[in-house]
């Protein structure tokens, strides 16, 4: 309770300071809009549906691409950990591609797929898949061999060992991998949406960029706030349950 109050006090002071700075007259209201203007913008954008529409478009792109990335990345990581030749080939390629900031996929993706959902999907998948695969691979390699030996003596073989022993044993690594993948996917999608107008849907990134074009700083900051909130909510909804589970079962500090 005390910590909540401290946080609340901090943010209240921040808003008050901002308000006073905006009212001081040192900066143009166009550059530093007061908090009330931002609230007004957000309220208007929610009322007329533009914000919700953009939110739906962006979140849809993100979830679809991210789920595809995880669905491909985890099995890929298991394969690179299981087969030396996959590790030497696909694994090495993954290591290289993971070092490539995923924004760099945007130009290629736009030329290959055009200014449409396919391009967005490709960018998000590329941002996700390699970090997830590498984390899964690393996680599997860190599983103490004694787990697999113990499982073998109890009659576990092949696929059963992989699904019931290796994968759960690697879970803490996999979870931190898919969390990192999420961060990459989110950043690459925002970059792509700001970088280019996608004709098939008007996302948050475009809304942000239009704010710049219109010189509407209340819109720019308002959309930035929404993007921050999405990041926080995702962390709570998507990852916190996993981390709590790991914490309870393994007794680990939060990943």
């Amino acid at each position: 309770m005390r910590r909540v109050l401290t946080a609340l006090l901090f943010f209240t002071l921040l808003v008050v300071a901002w308000h006073l700075a905006a009212r001081s007259g040192r900066w143009s209201a166009v550059l530093v809009p007061p908090p009330a203007d931002i609230v007004a913008y957000l309220w208007g954008a929610i009322s007329d549906g533009t914000l919700v529409g953009a939110l739906v478009v962006t979140v849809k792109r993100l979830l679809l691409g991210y789920l595809c990335g995880v669905a491909a990345g985890v099995p890929l990581g298991l394969l690179t950990a299981r087969f030396e030749w996959v590790h030497d080939t696909v694994g090495t390629m993954g290591l290289g591609l993971q070092a490539l900031p995923s924004v760099c996929w945007v130009p290629l993706s736009l030329i290959w797929f055009g200014q449409n959902e396919g391009a967005m999907l490709f960018v998000v998948v590329m941002g996700t898949v390699w970090s997830v695969a590498l984390a899964t691979d690393g996680g599997v390699r860190n599983v103490p061999p004694i787990y697999a030996r113990a499982a073998r003596t109890m009659g576990s073989r092949g696929l059963h060992t992989w699904m019931r022993v290796i994968l759960p044993a690697a879970l803490p690594f996999v979870v931190s991998g898919i969390k990192q993948g999420w961060a990459f996917a989110w950043r690459s999608l925002m970059a792509a949406e700001i970088y280019v107008t996608i004709l098939t849907g008007f996302g948050l990134g475009q809304l942000l960029n239009y704010g710049r074009d219109l010189n509407a700083m209340d819109q720019v900051i308002g959309v930035m706030l929404v993007i921050v909130v999405i990041g926080l909510v995702t962390d709570k909804v998507l990852f916190s349950p996993w981390e709590r589970f790991l914490h309870r079962r393994w007794g680990l500090a939060k990943v």
């Binding site: 113990a150 073998r152 003596t153 009659g155 759960p168 079962r249």
Partner: protein, 264 residues
């Protein structure tokens, strides 16, 4: 509950025969002769302790009986059958508990039972609870592994290896990492369980006193190459106390034989 009772009664202890087994390990240019022409037979229901300095191949021999490793020459027979892979009739309990942290105590004990055909899920639960109770952890069935002390973890590991009702129990320094008090409690428990559940036990340790207090027979190994140096029969009444003078006398004989071969 006839079938649970049957499940618990099944599988009398088995006998083991190790015949002229040799094993080499290579790492880089170094080639170690881990076991050199080792022969040993273990009777049904016998409690045999393997002791010796590190590197004498006693753990390797245990892994071979488990089927986790294969001999380079010679053969390992369990109940007359050549051992080529792990089997439920020979369960292994490891140095570190090797329990699965993503499962509860019950989940860990159920792991092997779920791989054993012929039981319904409810019966498996019942069998698992029986063994969790047998090692004195009935109240902790739903605890997570990280919440347990080292001694409790090894009890869970014991329950887990007993649960599929193996005929042979292979133990690789299972109590080495525990404090003396906990260890002495577990010596008592293990002897009781061995008597009640009728198992053939092969127990690897570097603690001579532990070996003398637990085993019907103590097999002393020497290192480089790993060979059987001598065997000692320990025919003291049970249950035995590791602190009793009789056990100490037997342990001294083993230690003397070990020292006769130079520093361990």
């Amino acid at each position: 509950m006839a079938s649970v009772a049957e499940e618990l009664r099944a599988n009398p202890p088995a006998k083991l025969a190790i015949e002229h087994v040799s094993k080499w390990f290579e790492s880089g240019v170094v080639k170690t002769h881990a076991l050199d022409d080792v022969s040993l037979s273990v009777a049904e229901g016998e409690f045999v302790c393997l002791v010796g300095p590190s590197g004498c191949g006693k753990s390797t021999l245990l892994n071979m009986i488990a089927g986790l490793e294969l001999p380079d020459s010679g053969s390992v027979l369990a109940e007359g059958q050549r051992v080529t892979e792990p089997g439920r009739d020979r369960m292994m309990m490891f140095q570190e508990s090797a329990l699965f942290p993503w499962l509860t105590v019950l989940g860990n004990v159920l792991f092997g039972l779920r791989l054993k055909p012929g039981l319904r899920e409810r019966e498996r639960q019942e069998v698992a609870m029986y063994y969790i109770g047998l090692v004195g952890l009935g109240r902790f069935a739903h605890s997570n592994i990280h919440e347990l002390s080292g001694g409790m973890r090894q009890r869970v590991a014991l329950a887990r290896s007993l649960a599929p009702n193996p005929r042979v129990l292979l133990m690789d320094e299972p109590f080495a990492a525990l404090d003396a008090m906990t260890r002495e409690q577990l010596y008592g428990d293990l002897q009781e369980i061995w008597a009640a559940r009728r198992k053939t036990i092969v127990f690897v340790t570097h603690n001579v006193r532990e070996a003398a207090s637990l085993g019907d027979r103590v097999v002393l190994f020497s290192a480089n190459p790993g060979r059987i140096l001598r065997e000692f029969a320990v025919d003291l009444p049970r249950p035995r106390d590791i602190n009793s003078p009789e056990v100490a006398v037997h342990a001294m004989q083993v230690t003397a034989a070990l020292k006769g071969r130079g520093p361990a």
